[in-house]
Symmetry: C2
Subunit: 333 residues, 2 copies
């Protein structure tokens, strides 16, 4: 008999998340009721924002208790259904949770249905949460104009790699900041970034100054910390600092300093703005159409780092925070 | 024979500005050339932004060298004139500098001409740089809506007191943060603020939480530092943090921490934005009309702390940083 395999929150993480912060459980695959569908998970997404949710610091979503199935985005196939919107065999995505099976009525959790020809890896990544985050963060918050100088940190990650390419499509010059020569080569050689800075090996400030002689018009921040400060020191007049994430902060022990160069926002008449992608859900379908068109014309590429095996979810989450992924980090169930 | 009395930059300040950072000089009152007017200074303005200019840290204006006449806003009377736009006897304001006489062609430095019935104290304050800063900072950057919860720091200062009243005129609830019971009483009893917090005597965080149970929609920041962090921790969804000044930073020795709670901008989908009032010069006349109408109807009040005697300019600047002023700090020449 098939079991619903799950990972639940075992402990609030302190410092770097540990495998023991999640516990493996099994329970019977649930039966569906009226209007419900049973989704069999194909891939589950690992995202930096999971860290704050495990610690219950992310108050923009419902809190998770110890013992709850860990929240996670996923893509799957409808196995049984009492809901005509989600027919058997349909490819769907949503917050399926860290489990092999999920029951939904389409509202709880909300499900998106994809055309049959969509690659599940794309549905979870470039057309999923991280792709949407890149799209709305860059376009709505960043508001790129032709010729803008754009810097993206975490640039080889799922969100950063798409955000940078969208800026290129909008006619900007784009510099990516990533960890290691392979990631940097991917950004410039395959994705068309104008430059890439290896923060592990290079002087980020000096390279930024050289690459952005007239300052930074848009800084798309996925990391926070020192790199945010280095960019704030180099913003151009009227700059937009898009606060997307702060991965350097998430696993820190103790208090984390703020950006000491924030006051340059005054001298440069600039703004720093945060957003939560969930707010844009009504526009996801339209954004996905744009992204699919860019992919079809070869202007937007995506990559995933796929870890095989449901049991490796905790390890894959740690790998994400250690920067072992290029593009979207996911587990194949 | 009348002299042009001046204060010049004698040294770059380190830590709190000292009287010896400015040096007194005299020179002959200059003759005017074609198209020029000679302005005799009536009042000179003391502003927190002077500190950064003395240290040459404020790169949004031309740098000042050691030995230069210190930059200062002022209001005066045209004494002699070869320019029909500035007739003898006209009341004018502009960056006259710390001197008793200033020559201008109307462009260098730019001069504004006021109607004869305008009080020079109002021309320099509520209709001058600080009034314009309050107007554009609150309205253009803060974008107040009826019912918004607004917090203003440095609320008894020249800019804060006007910014808070403009928010009240726009239908907001307004809490001011100021130093000392007299200033706080002025805010609530005379200016109509809904509440005032004495940061020298009260628990600012607890008072903010009580006064803003649904969070802060607009925080108009004149001070930076710990108060900025306390407000960032309490912003509402969609909040605007108007970065106007950071007086707590200006005289600091050594590195100053950034706002450690900046990441709440993400959770609250909020923005933090700086501005420089000089950018709004083309709209000053229209703003002054609004402000004069509000004053005429009794909805906007202003106050000045006037130090008598040109020779007291350095001491008045220190008094400003020590918070000895209520409303606009100026010297009567």
């Amino acid at each position: 008999m098939t079991k619903n395999r799950q990972f639940r929150i075992a402990a609030r993480p302190v410092g770097m998340v540990k495998e023991s912060d999640l516990s493996y459980t099994e329970e019977p695959v649930p039966n569906i009721g009226a209007n419900q569908a049973l989704v069999r998970t194909l891939y589950l997404s690992l995202d930096p924002s999971m860290r704050g949710q495990m610690e219950n610091r992310a108050d923009y979503v419902a809190p998770l208790a110890i013992g709850d199935v860990m929240r996670a985005g996923g893509v799957g196939i409808v196995e049984t259904s009492n809901n005509s919107k989600f027919p058997v065999g349909a490819l769907v995505s949503g917050t399926l949770g860290m489990q092999t099976h999920c029951v939904s009525d389409g509202v709880n959790p909300p499900l998106r249905v994809f055309d049959g020809d969509v690659d599940p890896v794309a549905a979870l990544g470039v057309l999923g949460g991280t792709g949407m985050t890149a799209y709305f963060g860059m376009l709505d918050i960043g508001q790129p104009k032709v010729g803008d100088m754009v810097v993206v940190s975490g640039a080889a990650g799922a969100t950063g790699s798409i955000a940078g390419q969208i800026a290129k499509i909008k006619g900007c010059k784009v510099v990516g900041i990533a960890g290691g020569p392979e990631k940097c080569a991917w950004l410039t050689d395959e994705l068309g970034f104008d430059a890439a800075i290896d923060y592990k090996a290079e002087d980020v400030g000096a390279r930024l100054s050289a690459a952005c002689p007239n300052g930074i018009d848009i800084y798309f921040d996925n990391v926070g910390g020192e790199i945010l400060d280095l960019c704030l020191a180099r913003i151009a007049t009227g700059a937009r600092v898009v606060l997307c994430g702060g991965i350097s902060r998430y696993n820190a022990n103790g208090p984390i300093p703020g950006p000491k160069n924030y006051f340059n926002l005054v001298f440069r008449r600039a703004r720093m703005e945060g957003f939560i992608v969930l707010d844009y859900a009504p526009r996801f379908a339209a954004a996905a159409k744009d992204i699919q068109a860019w992919m079809a014309s070869g202007r937007l590429k995506h990559r995933a780092t796929i870890v095989e095996g449901f049991e490796n979810l905790p390890r894959a989450l740690i790998d994400l925070f250690e920067g072992k992924n290029t593009g979207k980090m996911m587990v194949k169930v």
